[in-house]
Amino acid sequence: MEVTSIQDGIIIDHVPAGTALKVLQYLKIDPSKTRLALIMNTDSPRYGTKDIIKIENVEGIDLDVLGLVARQATVDIVRGGRIVEKVQPHLPEHVVNVITCVNPRCVTTTERGIDQMFHLAHSERQEYRCDYCDEEAKL
């Protein structure tokens, strides 16, 4: 399978296999309005299988959000057909209005006009918990 290289944009590599569409959704990239290539379930020496997302004409993406949904991913920034920079997403301390709390007893289900806020709980599992009810986030 051959996919043409991009000239200017970004390549998100090492996306967990099968999750590329979810990653696009969280990054709020609309596939109907963006020129992009998706490679799913391809071989990866490091992880066995992986997805790759190549997006043309995009300057930057929200690395915090990427860290949240695909923390093992790497981002290559491409200019003039060459990779000029590689960046690694990090786990954000706080995320606002990215994840929605699923706890039906949480105040965010009834109170109008408040942000969905989650924080990184520093345990071994590194899960995100709702600022309000401390429910674990489901991605």
């Binding site: 007893r105 105040v107 965010t108 109170e111 006009g113 345990s123 600022d131 309000y132 401390d134 429910e135």
Partner: protein, 314 residues
Amino acid sequence: MTLDDLSRHQILELLHKAAYIDAHRREVSHTCDGRVLATLFYEPSTRTRLSFETAMLRLGGKVIGFAGAQLASVTKGESIADTIKTVSNYVDAIAIRHPKEGAALVASRAASVPVINAGDGGHMHPTQTLADLATLQSRFGRITDLTVGLCGDLTFGRTVHSLIETLCRFGNVRFVLISPDELKTPQYVIDRINATPSCSYVEVRDLVSVIGDLDVLYMTRVQKERFFNEDDYLRLRDTYILDEAKLSLAQPHMAVLHPLPRVNEIAVEVDDDPRAAYFEQVKNGMLMRMALESSVIGDELPGYVPLEPKEVQA
């Protein structure tokens, strides 16, 4: 507002202040003169509300508020934030109880006056934990170096989780977690104990076999709704009822605590035993609420000497 927002020194300071208030009730009775507390109870909890209101009245302050959302403008669709912003204009502090988890945080962000969380659903009930701590403090003179047995429903009991987490912050507590397999302590609470090197825990099913080791026995209600079938409930129920026969196996200095209301998990005959501390716990709850209210809106307590920060070990 959760207990995690208070430093360990602030918690010890509140305990210290509560003991002072208890011994100097007449002297402190005008330290909140002219101030008003709102008790906004979106779900009925007569016990907690009366405790908050009595605490304020005993400091010379006044109270307004509602009990039950059907009476409030919630039925007209007003948000918590709007209610709080309105009430902030009327009063000096707000105590809020709400069935939704995290409601107190919403309230504290919207308010321009101090907000005290009087329970937000199954999430937090910090003043209950303060009452528990005050009871340990008054019985033992310390809240560390204790063997604390927690018995009954350890899965859904928020008071239990909150107490464990807070005791872990002070350290040196051995926890004995006594529950049926169906109602064991959740993993995040166990993680918290594991993360505290000076604390340890054991999980057991049988109360009788461990009761002799305990300094504190914290009883909770085992609710029928928590079981998949009635047989399991009936089989297990009696194992976790505290009566004189079981209590005769315990140490003479052990304290029996319970967040109340109890149903049948502590036999009435235990009430007269000097080890029963659960009604004392209610008194301590009020004293801690007095300490809290006086700290956030009151004048300085006459004659009160604050706790030296150096008495707390980091």
